[in-house]
């Protein structure tokens, strides 16, 4: 083997180590972040919508809390299946400066959402969303879509699809943010 070949072999080994470390790093990164869907450290958008009682509410009303914004609808089975788990999250972290906020995307609004929320014994705020709010969050391609927002109003994670699939990660992230 010539010295040139030996040099190339050495370089390849170094490249391999660097490449391997990068690959391992990507594999070990949090799932939502790896999904390519994680919002970078963006400021959560400010908006004004109504809650189930028709009161005006703003995103900034929750500043200082860790917030899990969950876009959902009564007609969305993958959304409603995880409501009991969101209720548990609210119970677990609610007194530690955390809240879930469900943004319901039902066209009929509170008329259909309120009875559903009551029946499901939802223990966190439900707001009535619209396309404008979804757009402010960067566009919602489907629901459920959820955003974890830090105490200082930064979007730290974005979860597409069933949030339950990220159960461990969500718990870990909430605990980290509190």
């Amino acid at each position: 083997m010539s010295s040139g070949q030996k040099t190339i072999l050495g370089l390849l080994l170094v490249a391999g180590l660097v490449g391997g470390a990068y690959w391992y790093g990507r594999r070990s990164a949090p799932r939502a972040a790896r999904s390519g869907t994680a919002a970078s450290a963006n400021r959560a958008p400010e908006f004004k919508i109504k809650d189930l009682e028709g009161r005006e509410v703003r995103m900034s009303d929750l500043e200082g809390k860790v917030v899990l914004v969950n876009f959902w609808a009564t007609w969305c089975k993958p959304c409603t299946i995880e409501i009991p788990w969101l209720i548990e999250l609210q119970k677990k972290y609610g007194e530690k400066g955390f809240t879930v906020v469900g943004i319901a995307m039902d066209e009929e609004g509170a008329k259909v959402v309120a009875p559903y929320a009551q029946q499901a014994k939802v223990n966190y705020p439900i707001w009535i969303g619209d396309e404008e709010v979804a757009t402010k969050f960067g566009g919602i391609l489907g629901i459920p879509t959820s955003f974890l927002i830090s105490k200082n109003g930064q979007i730290v994670e974005r979860y597409l699809g069933i949030l339950l699939a990220y159960e461990d990660q969500v718990n870990e992230q909430i605990a980290k943010q509190l």
Binding site: G16, W23, W75, I162
Partner: protein, 209 residues
Amino acid sequence: MGKGTEIRKEKLENRLFSIFYFLFSSLLVAGGLTANGPPLARAAQFPRRNEPIVRAQGYVSLQSVPQGGEFRVAVLAEIAPGYHINASKPLQEYLIPTQLRAQPPAGMRVLEAAYPKANLKEFAFSDEKMAVYDGTIVLGLRVATSPRIPRGEVALPLELRYQACNDKLCLPPTTLPLQVNVPLVSPGTAARAIHPEIFSKLVFGGKSR
């Protein structure tokens, strides 16, 4: 060690180097692809905004419809792979049913609708079976015409209302506008059936499922 042996050794080293170089390059490329693979695969589960989940086309059962006669309308709908839409009679409250609706012009009246048999399926997100449609389906309407309806081609606007999900997320309810043109002719004109391959899939007469 003879010269011949040295040459063979050198050839062997060169061959080993080539094999190693090839394998190593392949691993690096594969590693790069693997690192980027899962995000791409996951992203593909979510539709692009302008990508329709349901493509549909309307058909009229007769080549020409005599005034005062009846005809059927079929809508052939193709649901994107991996997605489903709720059946016309979902098993769960709150789910949005698939509906084929018409806005008949004066002189036309919808008599009944026919929907395909629902598939009862379980999904990863659901703890119970759901009545859904997937793949290619045919929905239909039976329409009566008045003897006084004007002759000529009359537009019959239709709407296919559906709400689609895959096994991870749901898309907003959608109303897909469609239209068929109904060629109306004088009574007594022979009415030739067309598109039998589509209309044979429709079940009317209270047997719609």
